[in-house]
Symmetry: C2
Amino acid sequence: MSASLDEDSYARAALTYLAEPGDTKLGALVRACGAATTLAAIKAGTLPEMSLSGAARAAGVRAMERWQVRLGEVPPADEVAGFYRAGIRLACPGDPEWPGQLADLGDAAPYALWLRGSADLRFSCLRSVAIVGSRAATAYGSYVASEFASSLAARGWAVISGGAYGVDAAAHRGALGADGVTVAVLACGVNVPYPVGHQNLLDAVAAQGVVVSEWPPGRNATRLRFLVRNRVIAALAPGTLVVEAGQRSGALNSARHARDLSRRLMAVPGPITSDLSAGCHHIIREWQGTLVTSAADVIECLSPVTAAPGQTPAAVLPRDELDPDTAAVLDALPSRGGMGTAQIGHRAGLEPATVMRCLGALAAGGFAERCAGGWRLRRT
Amino acid sequence: MSASLDEDSYARAALTYLAEPGDTKLGALVRACGAATTLAAIKAGTLPEMSLSGAARAAGVRAMERWQVRLGEVPPADEVAGFYRAGIRLACPGDPEWPGQLADLGDAAPYALWLRGSADLRFSCLRSVAIVGSRAATAYGSYVASEFASSLAARGWAVISGGAYGVDAAAHRGALGADGVTVAVLACGVNVPYPVGHQNLLDAVAAQGVVVSEWPPGRNATRLRFLVRNRVIAALAPGTLVVEAGQRSGALNSARHARDLSRRLMAVPGPITSDLSAGCHHIIREWQGTLVTSAADVIECLSPVTAAPGQTPAAVLPRDELDPDTAAVLDALPSRGGMGTAQIGHRAGLEPATVMRCLGALAAGGFAERCAGGWRLRRT
């Protein structure tokens, strides 16, 4: 992970400034001729020769003007390096931290993701559950979200949510309280405290997990952006759990994405007298979502789609697929007692920030665990 | 309907004294050689020649002693006539009021049913829902049971339940409050006030619906009898709705019978924090029960299996299939205004008790309705 982005990554960073995420015209263009060529074409105001044909080309020509409007907002490379110094990094397709399952979104896949936090996004998502629901959650919904998140985190599952009030916040807090990994996917820049009351919560997520956004640092959330963001939450996790949702809740939008992406869809039932359980009952009844009443139910529902059987977390990726830094940290870990990060870094020959990132990845992947003395190999 | 029972009916009445309901050995014997021959055989202490073969015969020989124990309890025919004078009647297979769907119980079908009340059992069950659940219902469960029963009754559906505290009582009361037909299937004699606190409720059910039992008048309920009784509740209704049930509730026993009998199985969800919703969630999750949140959901679930489409009750049986008395009462009914039972009886040439029974049947069947002036044809 370095502040000097290659040409493709810098172009992708620039594209997150130019176009709204989920713009399938831009996605198709990037797929056809690459991010760098696409950025150059937008700067030049002409579509690359042979890049698209027919209707897609005509649509691209029409969109060109829209993309060019924000050209002045794209930061130069040294400004992006400043983000890195502030703890914000970029993940692009092909990077070790890029979650490959986002390819399921096709031309609507993110151009890149901005990340802030200690956990490795790809590893975190391997064994994860998206927990979503109403911002105006009842005490019941908040309790259930927190309980599920806490139990799942304690069993080595990462909890993905949207950082909002209500169910989202309860889910993040439940995971944090169980010393688990949690991922907040925002509809604004990863350095924007939105909602304002969640500044501390988002900082806590970054410290123990990772804050994610398709929008560049500094961008504000809008109503539309929440809906666009929801597809990423649904795509990142093998399954989405709706805890409480009214019949027109945004959580149903996330649920629909999960269903359309062939992810597992689950819902928690509640009193039929509560409007906020109506969406959950709709999911179970009309969308064949699985009714779940415990974290164990969630794990059972997801076990066919994740590699690890049973409740004891085990490594979900073969060691061969670890990147070299992470493999080095894994080699450095003791099997008994515990070792501090400084000593691990000394053994592995890596700087502390890299050690922390790799340990987050190893923890999320089921290879390593925290203990009183620091870190050690997870017993299988 | 008369107090002078034919030989088969008297024999079946006697069998309800001799054997516990659901005794498949006795059921097989009755099926093989008829009720009268079976009763004579028990009195004689020998199985009829050629009635059964092999293992079934050996089992019958072993059971003979058990059946003979209670021979002294069988009342003579004039005592049965006394029951009729007290408003208690017997229904046997082949009688106009016998619900043919009980044949689905095979050798465990009731030998006969004792009835107390104004409604016709067969007609009542044609468009009916069994609503069952925990005796220790929460306020939520009682409210939901009452609301569903009331809405279903208002739309012309009869509500079948077990007369117990909790969900059962709320279901009966909901139907009664909506001037609907309700059926209480007891695990004791139809003249036994059990539970004692429900004497008034059971009398109200009899006045507006019908109280049913496989056990003869005077018999007390036992723990085992409740379980045996549950199969009849499940068999009578096209669908069973579980409102609240713990994981070991008797309501799950009813639900299992409904499932095994290929009846529609439905459950109301509730808070996952309530033990009394755990059984409902189990039904939805493990037994593919339909999650329902309203009476409309119940009707939608059942409409494929009942004859009448839509929400407006219409006749569920062709007029040709009405018994002669009921057809005569139907002919006597006015299409406008209303007519009292005395005048209907005069027109139809029938005594008041018969008129009341036929009107109950016609109301349950969707042919007739109560109005300010008495009774009239139901508008379609």
